[in-house]
Each structure stands twice: as structure tokens, then as C-alpha cells.
Amino acid sequence: MSTSFLENFFITLILYNLLVAAGISIYGVVARPSITKKIISLTILQDTFNILAIFLGFKVFSIPPVLLELDSDIEKLLAFTTSAVDPLPQALVLTAIVIGLAVNLFLIFLALQVFRLYRTLDSRKIKELKG
């Protein structure tokens, strides 16, 4: 089973789009002065890399990695292994999502505390303030 030129083109386009999204979100984290926008960019960066990881396990004309029949027939299991997508990136992304969520929560609460203390979330103004 092979893919047509158009299918290949769209798969490649998705890959490049993810790289562009990663680039834009890194710009957001580094260059935007607002802490809120930095956090939003960071979440976009996390999701981009998660989709990139899923993309690595992607396979055309595939089925989800869930066995539908529970029997010990090796022939059926072999057919399953050749038709299902790679489950490892999915499992790693699940872990990455939870860790990303924990990091985001921590950053949000820190930002809230920064706002309570300085009454601003602009990193340029915070730099000038003392105490």
C-alpha cells in the first residue's frame, strides 16, 4: 500500500506547519513582554511537540492500538501488529500532557502571585520595580 503525491504533500505540509508553530511559539515565549502571553505561547509549544510526537508514530490506513478480540490466535495478533498505529508516542504524550499541565499550573499560580505583589504582568515593568 503506498500513498499518492497529494497525500504525501499534505503529510509533509502538516510536518512543516508543526515546525513553524513551534518556531512562532518559541518567539512568543522569548520576545513577548507579557507573562500571560509567555504562558500561552508555552502551552502552544507543548501541544505542538505533543502532536509532533504523535506524528512520529503515525501510519496511513491504520487502526487504533486496541485489540477488539481477546484470543490467543497468533495470526490475528500478527495482523493487528501490522495494521495498528505505534502506541508508544501516544503513551509518552499522555505523560507529557500531565507533566505539561503541572508546569502550567505552577506557572499560572506564580503569575497570579506576581500580579498580587507587583500589580502588573509586564516583565519590563517588573524588572524596573524593586522589593
Partner: protein, 267 residues
Amino acid sequence: MRKYFVLVSIVLATVVIAYITTYLRALGPIGLDTRYLAKLFLMLTYNPVYRELTAMSPEAVTSIVWDFRGVDTLYETVVFYMAIIAALTIYRGVSYSSIWGGYGLSLIVRVVTKLLIPINIAIAVSIAAHGHLTPGGGFQAGAVLAVVSVLLAVTYSASSFIKLGVSLSKAVALRSAGLLAIALVVFTPIVFSALTGVQTYIMQNYVKIDSSFSFPTHVWNQLISGTLIWLNLAEFLAVSFGFFIIFMLLSLREEVVREQIGEKDEH
């Protein structure tokens, strides 16, 4: 104007480079075959023939998450735990019992929410209990149940938590109970080994090549996949009440928090 020019040029450059790469077949074949490791995991996820290597769960992702790479997930749970500890530290000294909110949204919204919440809870429990059979699991179920706390805070106001008897300390206790349950499942093989002298491994699910210890894989002819169902349910408890704590803290009114923490407006 300059911004639009940059955006349009990025989009055009992406499309053109993708076209050239596809035309030259520079990336090679994409998405036509899975890696050997993936085939191994798929082969061993539910395989009664290779008893020493299987996880006895038809859901390959859950097998990897809680069996093949179980320690990863254990650390992930710890990281999530630490993040909530950090949030609670920032909010230390804030008492939830003195908060009195408004009356929430209109009657229509409140009635619809009242109908939705039991459905939401049922779906969450179902996702957690079937995590080893169908896509889903403890974390996904916890995230679904967390929606209940947001619905309560938005439609009935933050004071509804007090009316329902959900306090921060109760949520922390339930969450800790979930984590303790995970620890119990993880250390059961070691305790079994200490009592009987049988060789076991930490976080062991099914029999290994030099260990005859196994959690029961079937109960009343129903597949429960050994440790997987218990770990999923415990993670469900830990994650859902972790989210409850977060949303309870975030739904507090800012003036009340400032008043209770005792921070002065200096700037």
C-alpha cells in the same frame, strides 16, 4: 501591514518548501510502517501465549502507561502532586469556609447543570473503570470529573463548595488517598515477597520469567488486567481531586484572598 506581510510570507514559504520536499521525496516514505518496538508492544499487550512478557490488557496505550513504562507514570503522578503542593503553598493561610459568593447564574442554567453533573460523574467513572479495555484511563477520567468543579463554581458560585460540604482539606485527603492506593498497588509484590519468600518485582503486574507472582487478571470472568484497573481507579481519584483543589483555589475572589493572606498594596 508589516505583520501581515510576515505572516503571508511564512505561510507561502511553508507550502512551497513542503511541495519541493514532496516532489524530491526528500523525507523518504512517511507513515508506511511502524517501528519494531511498536510491533513488540502491540504483540505483547494481550498475549496469553507469552505469559512472562504480556500486560494482559487489550489496550496497548494503558499497558505501556501502567505496565511496560509504569515507573514513568509514577514519576508523572509525583510531578502533578508537587505542582498542587506548590499551589497550596502560595495560597497558605486562605480559609475557604469564610467565602460567601453570590447566587450563581439563572434558574435555567442551574437546572441544566444539575442534570449534567450526574451524567458527567457516570462518564468519568466509566472511563476510569474501562481504562484497561478501551481508550481512556485514570487521568482522562479525572480531567472529565474536574469539569464538575468548574461547572459548580461558574453556575452556582464558589460558595456552592461549602454548601455541598466539599472543603479544601477533604479534597487534599481524598487526593492523598488516591496516591496511597497507587503506592499500595506498587508495593504489594514486595510485601508478598517478604511474607512468602517468592521472587517479585516492584510494580509487578503479571507473572515474569523468574517470578510466579501475579495480580488476578480476571474477576468473575471479567478481564481486569491485574494492577491496571486498580492503578487507573487510584489515579482517577488522585487527579480528579487534584483538579478540584486547583479550581477551588482559582474560583476564590481576589479581594478575599488578598484580605486573608494579608498582603498590603504597596505599588
